[in-house]
């Protein structure tokens, strides 16, 4: 098949979008854990996921972005909302948002942050300084070739696992088949 002739994409306002999307991700993340109403939390999580998809797009990984939208934002979050709507919201709203474990949580967060900083400082050289050049436009096809060529076996194993998980879920949910 003849490759579609595509002149190199020219990114527009990259810096702005990067900060915008990462800011959106962070803010949504904070909202996810601070909102008392779980539906609002889920909504914030959706925005966070969409912003992440935007970031993927900026990294010239459109396939990952698309999958992010279709699976996380479209599929998984719908199920989340489903469950949230069916549980007793009134009760969860009355529960205290930050309970006694906040100290432990804070410590864990600090430890994790410290770990990130250490890794970044120690392994600075691992990160390339130059901005990644746009890879070819056909990187979705590349993913396909890789998945079904080089990593065929791993891919099939993963799908088998998922199949087992589906059957398990059905068996657990339905007492009598």
């Amino acid at each position: 098949m003849q490759q579609v002739v595509q002149p190199g994409m020219q990114p527009v306002a990259t810096t702005f979008f990067f900060y915008f999307l990462s800011g959106l991700t962070l803010v949504s993340g904070v909202f996810v854990i601070t909102r008392k109403n779980p539906v609002h939390s889920a909504l914030a999580l959706i925005f966070g996921l969409l912003a992440q998809a935007g970031l993927y797009l900026m990294l010239y990984a459109p396939f990952v972005a698309g999958v992010q939208i279709i699976l996380y934002a479209g599929g998984i979050m719908v199920l989340f909302l489903f469950v949230i709507m069916l549980v007793n919201i009134e009760r969860s709203q009355k529960e205290e948002q930050f309970n006694k474990q906040w100290l432990v949580g804070l410590l864990a967060a600090i430890a994790l942050g410290a770990l990130f900083v250490v890794v970044y400082v120690k392994g600075k050289n691992l990160f390339p300084y130059r901005i990644a050049q746009p890879i070819e436009n056909s990187n979705t096809q590349q993913i396909g070739v890789m998945l079904y060529g080089q990593y065929m076996f791993a891919f099939e194993i993963a799908s088998l696992l998922l199949l087992v998980a589906i059957i398990g879920a059905v068996v657990m949910a339905k007492k009598r088949i």
């Binding site: 709507m85 069916l86 549980v87 007793n88 919201i89 009134e90 009760r91």
Partner: protein
């Protein structure tokens, strides 16, 4: 709820009576004025069905598919109906009380307002009951006119039923087709007596009006006009896959249940009981005509549909015979100026489009009836709703309400 009904024996009663009695006690406790409008615990948003496993929904009185102001309280598990309770009376006008304060003649127009889509049948039942009480008989020509108009009205009623029933199930188009053809019937009524819906076509002792010039021609024209239209409705629905799936085995009521619940009319016949008052206890001139009683076998919504469709064709058959054989003669019997039946009581019933429509009239010898009791077919048929929809889905409730063919004016009177 009717937990002790013998008709329910065959089905396990999944709904506990506890919940309904609970509602009753809360009702009695609160003197909140809104409890009449909603005495269910609907204002608690947290009570969703993972907690209680049950969801109480109020269908009506303002609902597009309850054919008026019927209110059905549905107890749901997901979409599955655990039980229903009908709340009726929103259209109660005290027709029976009014009758006690009107003369026999004055009450005649009131009966049209009960089943307003089959007003002619109501009038026929009432007039015949009073005639029986007076021990007079309408002349043959009047009887034939009565049969023609009543059967036309049965057509109109069934057409209206078909349109709205199909609309409930989601088929929009038949509604307009049936209304187009019903219009022709209403035009005949209008030409005959000046009214289209609440006709007040008959008087005690016969008919007020002689047929107008060209009445027979109009009726024959209608008889030739409508059979292809009925085929047209059937073409749209009878073999439509979705229609079949929505109606077959939906709202099944067994023969025994139907009899126990006193269900009459097409609903009873669809359950396989070959019983039609026009044949069983002929009134008016029905004994002169040759027609079939269509019956169903499964007692499901589809059977009721086919029974009614066939009834329309049989009605046409009766009308054709009546028009061809209509005798000449007077249209009013000798009726005293002031109707004063002797002391006594009478029960007379006819086969209205919806079932057995009975009038129980008690006379104390005065000009006003002492008591008029109307035995409304819709009211009694509606009682069967509960057992017909147990275990079905919400969509089936709609289909079953449609297939029962209730008119709230008659249920509530």
């Amino acid at each position: 709820m009717g937990a002790g009904q013998p008709g329910n024996r065959e089905r396990p009663i999944t709904m506990t009576d506890r919940t309904m009695t609970e509602q009753k006690t809360t009702e009695q406790k609160t003197s909140d004025p809104t409890r009449f409008l909603s005495h269910l615990e609907l204002d608690q948003p947290d009570k969703t069905f993972l907690d209680s496993n049950e969801l109480v929904i109020n269908m009506g009185p303002q609902h597009p598919a309850t054919h008026g102001v019927l209110r059905v309280i549905l107890k749901l598990d997901g979409e599955k109906v655990l039980g229903t309770e009908c709340v009726i009376g929103y259209l109660h006008r005290g027709v029976e009380k009014i009758a006690e304060n009107r003369t026999y003649t004055m009450f005649n127009p009131y009966v049209d307002r009960m089943d307003y889509v089959a007003a002619v049948s109501n009038g026929l039942g009432y007039c015949e009951a009073v005639e029986k009480l007076l021990n007079i008989e309408a002349p043959p020509r009047a009887k034939y006119i009565r049969v023609i108009l009543t059967e036309l009205n049965r057509m109109a009623s069934h057409q209206l039923w078909l349109g709205t029933h199909a609309l409930d199930i989601g088929a929009m188009t038949p509604l307009f087709y049936t209304f187009r053809d019903r219009e022709e019937i209403l035009k005949i009524f209008e030409k005959y007596c000046g009214a289209r819906l609440t006709t007040h076509a008959f008087r005690i002792g016969g008919c007020q009006y002689e047929t107008y010039e060209g009445f027979e021609r109009d009726v024959i024209k209608f008889l030739n006009f409508v059979p292809p239209k009925i085929d047209e409705y059937e073409e749209l629905l009878t073999s439509n896959r979705i229609w079949l799936e929505r109606t077959k085995n939906v709202g099944v009521i067994s023969r025994a249940d139907a009899i126990a619940l006193g269900v009459t009319g097409p609903v009873l016949r669809a359950s396989g009981v070959k019983w039609d008052l026009r044949k069983a206890q002929p009134y008016a001139a029905y004994s002169d005509f040759d027609f079939e009683i269509p019956i169903g076998t499964n007692g499901d919504t589809y059977d009721r549909y086919t029974v009614r469709m066939e009834e329309m064709r049989q009605s046409l058959r009766i009308i054709r015979q009546a028009v061809e054989r209509i005798p000449e003669g007077p249209i009013m019997a000798k009726v005293p100026k002031v109707i004063k039946p002797p002391v006594g009581e009478i029960y007379h019933s006819i086969e209205a489009p919806k079932g057995e429509l009975g009038y129980f009239i008690v006379s104390d010898g005065s000009t006003q009836p002492y008591r008029v009791r109307v035995r409304p077919p819709s009211f009694v048929n509606l009682q069967a709703l509960d057992i017909m929809v147990r275990g079905a889905l919400v969509a089936d409730v709609i289909a079953v309400i449609g297939t029962l063919d209730i008119v709230l004016g008659e249920v509530d009177r």
